[in-house]
């Protein structure tokens, strides 16, 4: 952060709602179909066709509104946003303008100062997505793919409460986690299901009035958001410090060059001529409906995090990680329920070996090859001293490779821990006999060498000796 300047950021996040069919037609929303195969006459804006609201989106928007402690409007209105573009078949986008379905919400993030910070959510409204213009692969012309046309979006608009790119990313991650928790969006950023525009301005420290903002368009990865905003902050400060002025404009982030550049100025901006869509009735929902949705809300990330600390005794930051997604939290809880091992041990394994293996194979927790109850089986064997933690890693890899359950693998590979005191004593005696120099040093007070002896014993037993017992026996035998 450059001294003397305060950064003000507001985000407009577009979350694609996870409905099967489109917001105003029966066409499928599935991603990746051949161009124009998932656009019906309504999506194509044919003469005479009419939109019919997919009520599922109202349910989803209501869930979101309740989850961010917002007011869910009893009456909201769809409006037409008029502009011409080839991938906008009707010449207008159906959105919500004056009366959105969700208003006055809030979300808490960890601010730059490390403290909890409230971020206001101005509104969230429903709208339809446009199609896609395809500029490559056509000679002298452009192609249009209207599959995405009419895909339902929830546009979530924050207050200008964010003060750095880092806070913006933290906020966006929270929203990302939340919509996936609620099951209202898959949050897939590569496929464009979750993207944002950022309004960025600067002002001298202490100034109340907002500076002129630039709007950065279509940021579709957490990394790009941070880079684009940081570039834009530097650009604006440089500009003003050199005596220039920020102009209100829309800018596009180019991730290849890591820079933002002007798309259109305020003067070139469209007059969208919003007016209520006469083809659609106002969306009217009752207090009872809202209450019923509230009853069905899943446990939200913040509540789950608190519960993981209270109920499982997890460290706060581990609880944070364990609740990063609903699927991960569910996995954790299912594993905890199936073992007597400590919850923290389960968390360590989920965050450690399991996450490592998932990352390595590029899998989501939902596609995990080791079921929670299987992992629990492995952790139970650590807990009851059948195997050591180190051996467990080996067993886990075998489980990952589908070689069987933990017990089967332990049996088949003979990995059971040696807990017979006399057997361990015999090995300890051998190690002591073989290392007279180290024994002398240890006796002379070099306590740290105990680690060396444990290592030797473990090596000789191929890791199968119980480390606690090894320690105890060594200390006994090496007593001066």
């Amino acid at each position: 952060m450059r001294a003397g300047w305060e950064v003000v950021i507001g985000l407009e996040i577009h979350a694609q709602l996870a409905t099967k069919s489109k917001i105003f037609s029966g066409a499928s929303t599935a991603y990746g179909a051949a161009p124009n195969t998932q656009a019906c006459l309504v999506d194509l804006g044919y003469p005479g066709v009419l939109p019919v609201l997919n009520v599922e989106v109202v349910h989803m928007a209501t869930m979101f509104g309740l989850a961010v402690d917002a007011t869910v409007a009893h009456r909201s209105v769809f409006a037409r946003k008029n502009y011409f573009y080839p991938d906008l078949p009707k010449g207008y986008q159906i959105s919500q303008f004056e009366l959105p379905i969700v208003e006055h919400g809030e979300l808490f993030i960890t601010g730059d100062d490390g403290k909890e910070k409230r971020i206001g959510i101005t509104r969230a409204h429903l709208e339809e997505d446009a199609g896609k213009s395809v500029h490559e692969g056509f000679d002298q012309s452009s192609g249009i793919d209207l599959n995405r046309t009419g895909t339902p979006l929830l546009e979530i608009v924050s207050e200008p409460d964010l003060r750095s790119a880092k806070e913006a990313v933290a906020y966006m991650r929270k929203i990302h986690t939340l919509v996936r928790y609620l099951g209202i969006s898959d949050g897939n950023m590569q496929e464009g299901s979750f993207r944002c525009d950022a309004n960025v301005s600067i002002r001298p420290d202490g100034q109340q009035a907002l500076g002129t903002r630039a709007e950065l368009k279509n940021l579709n990865s957490f990394r790009f958001i941070e880079r684009a905003i940081n570039f834009e902050i530097e650009r604006q400060i440089d500009l003003v410090e050199d005596g220039g002025e920020v102009v209100q404009e829309t800018r596009l982030y180019d991730s290849d060059k890591d820079e933002t550049r002007s798309m259109r100025s305020k003067e070139e901006a469209n007059d969208y001529r919003y007016f209520p869509d006469p083809d659609l009735l106002p969306v009217e929902i009752s207090a009872d409906y809202i209450e019923a949705v509230r009853q069905q809300l899943p446990e939200l990330p913040a509540a789950k995090r608190r519960r993981f600390v209270d109920e499982y005794g997890l460290k706060a930051e581990d609880a944070d990680m364990m609740t990063a997604s609903r699927a991960l939290a569910d996995y954790f809880e299912a594993a905890v329920a199936a073992t007597d091992a400590k919850s923290q041990l389960v968390a360590n394994w989920v965050m450690g070996d399991l996450s490592g293996a998932l990352n390595r194979d590029g899998l989501d927790i939902g596609d995990c090859k080791v079921a929670p109850v299987e992992l629990a089986g492995l952790l139970t064997r650590i807990h009851d001293n059948t195997i050591s933690g180190k051996i467990a890693k080996q067993v886990f890899e075998a489980m990952w490779d589908d070689e069987g359950t933990a017990d089967e693998i332990i049996d088949a590979k003979g990995l059971k821990q040696i807990t017979d005191n006399s057997a361990i004593e015999a090995v300890v005696d051998e190690v002591i006999a073989a290392n007279p120099g180290q024994v002398a040093e240890y006796m002379a007070g070099k306590d740290k060498l105990i680690g060396f002896f444990v290592g030797q014993v473990m090596q000789a037993t191929k890791g199968q000796a119980n480390p606690g017992q090894v320690n105890q026996i060594l200390k006994q035998k090496l007593k001066p």
């Binding site: 006459l41 194509l44 003469p47 005479g48 066709v49 010449g91 083809d279």
Partner: protein, 491 residues
């Protein structure tokens, strides 16, 4: 009842059905006769954009088979015409515009489906003002339609083709649409019956939109009884149209013959102000007197904001049309300019070439009234006035069952007389627009002549009071014979 010597073309739907049922003629014979008549006489009128002879004969053949098997629908084998604003699968659906001259609809409108399901035989698609914007049928890309009563006169619009075709006895019934009077005004000017039901009564799915909050489909016939039959088929909830209303559809033909004794007929003080042709005013007073002689009670009512209806309409309707017509951009269907230099050129020339003057005038007006800085002063204000107008009707209907008055300020005017004067043209709809702004059912019934040109009596009802309107009109037609008069050339 049907007189077997009465020419087929001059019979009502009810009379034709009796003939079909009695085996006096087949639907194929009837269809062939009307197609021949159209072939002989339409050149002078220009009521059709497309005559669907092959499809009609095939449908008639199916209808005859169904009749023989006893399985036909309620309009089985009866000929009708669709206004060219309704999408018809596999058939050109032009909406009277060059923009859609090449448009073959891939689907059927809800109204078209329902008519087909009922067994109606569609003779073709009727001419209309371009995108239903006009009150004279002169804005059509396919040329003006002539009024069968005087070929130099306009049949009114925008459903001028449908009205003129029914008046010329090309078919006993035709569909129409009414945004500000587009069914009722041409019905009045051609001596036919036209009904625009309550907003939401008939599905708008597949009806090319002009002004969505005002557009409503209806019918043009020669008798109220036929109108009741047609409306019974068209009406009903359609989940594809969010503004269609889920309200039971009564049998509109039932109770038509019941007395109108005690019916309270509102007579609007403001209707007889300046602006209404004096001879027309006489015909309307006579018609109201006739209703009184049938037992109705005339009650004076007030519609204080009537004079605001035309300006209100000419803000709301253009605003909606400016947006509704944005889809005609030359990209996916319809007229596309050749050799476009770039995207802007494609848009500008496709729309510039595809739309006529009146459509452009309304798109520009609508764009203006929705623009930043003007929205509150025009669009929002107009919506507020619209509520006032609706309230006026509500108050009036607290004391009366229907409101009766003139449909149009004058009989048919000459083609070319008003086309260069939009304001005068717009004032032609002064009596009809209120029903659209308030979403009320309304109809026009022939009630006499002025200088050999027909005059229409306008009846407006409360929401879903179509039955009352139809009963009143039917009783009036039982007592009068204005509707049986046929233009000389078409006898």
């Amino acid at each position: 009842m049907s007189d077997s010597k009465q020419a087929l073309y001059s019979r009502s739907m009810t009379e034709l059905e009796a003939g079909l049922d009695a085996g006096e003629f087949s639907s194929v014979e009837l269809t062939r006769a009307l197609l021949e008549r159209i072939g002989e006489l339409d050149a002078t009128l220009n009521t059709f954009v497309t005559v669907t002879a092959d499809e009609a004969l095939a449908a008639a053949e199916r209808a005859d088979k169904a009749r023989a098997a006893g399985t036909g629908g309620v309009l089985n084998g009866l000929p009708i015409i669709h206004k060219d604003i309704f999408c018809t699968r596999g058939v050109k659906t032009s909406c009277g515009s060059r923009m859609l001259d090449n448009f073959i609809s891939p689907y059927d409108a809800a109204v078209v489906e329902k008519m087909a399901d009922a067994g109606a035989v569609v003779l073709g698609k009727s001419n209309m003002d371009e995108f239903a914007m006009g009150s004279s049928n002169e804005t059509s890309y396919y040329g003006a339609v002539s009024n069968p009563w005087d070929l130099e006169c306009s049949p009114g619009g925008s459903s001028g083709g449908s009205a003129a075709a029914v008046a010329a006895r090309f078919a006993p019934a035709a569909t129409g649409t009414d945004t500000g009077g587009s069914i009722r005004q041409p019905a009045a000017l051609t001596g036919t019956v036209g009904i625009k039901p309550t907003y939401g009564r008939v599905s708008r799915y597949g009806m090319i939109a002009f002004a969505s909050s005002l557009d409503q489909a209806g019918v043009i016939t020669r008798t109220a009884e036929d109108a009741a039959r047609m409306l019974g088929v068209m009406a009903g909830f359609d989940e594809r149209d969010s503004t269609s209303i889920d309200h039971p559809v009564p049998d509109y033909t039932a109770g038509l013959g019941e007395s109108i004794k005690g019916l309270r007929v509102g007579v609007v003080r403001q209707h007889f102000d300046e602006g209404l042709d004096a001879s027309c005013a006489d015909r309307i007073r006579e018609a109201i007197a006739e209703l009184e002689s049938l037992g109705a009670k005339a009650v004076e009512v007030d519609l204080p904001n009537l004079d605001l209806s035309v300006p209100t309409y000419y803000v709301v309707a253009p605003a909606e049309c400016s947006s509704n017509l944005s889809r005609f951009d030359g990209v996916r269907f319809g007229h596309r300019a050749e050799n476009a230099k770039d995207l802007l050129d494609l848009y500008c020339r496709s729309r510039g070439e595809g739309f006529g003057d009146e459509v452009k005038r309304r798109i520009m007006t609508g764009t203006y009234v929705l623009s930043a800085g003007y929205y509150d002063a025009y669009y929002l204000k107009a919506q507020q006035v619209r509520h006032l107008i609706a309230d006026d009707f509500k108050k009036a209907f607290a004391n009366v069952d229907i409101i009766a008055g003139p449909t149009a300020p004058s009989p048919a005017f000459k083609l070319g007389e008003k086309i260069d004067d939009p304001i005068t043209m717009y004032l032609n709809d002064i009596y009809t627009i209120g029903a659209n702004l308030a979403g009320l059912p309304a109809m026009s019934v022939p009630c006499g002549f002025v200088d050999d040109l027909p005059v229409g009596l306008h009846l407006v009802g409360a929401h879903f009071a179509e039955q009352t309107l139809l009963r009143c009109a039917h009783r009036y037609q039982q007592a009068t014979d204005w509707h049986t008069a046929c233009p000389e050339r078409f006898q």
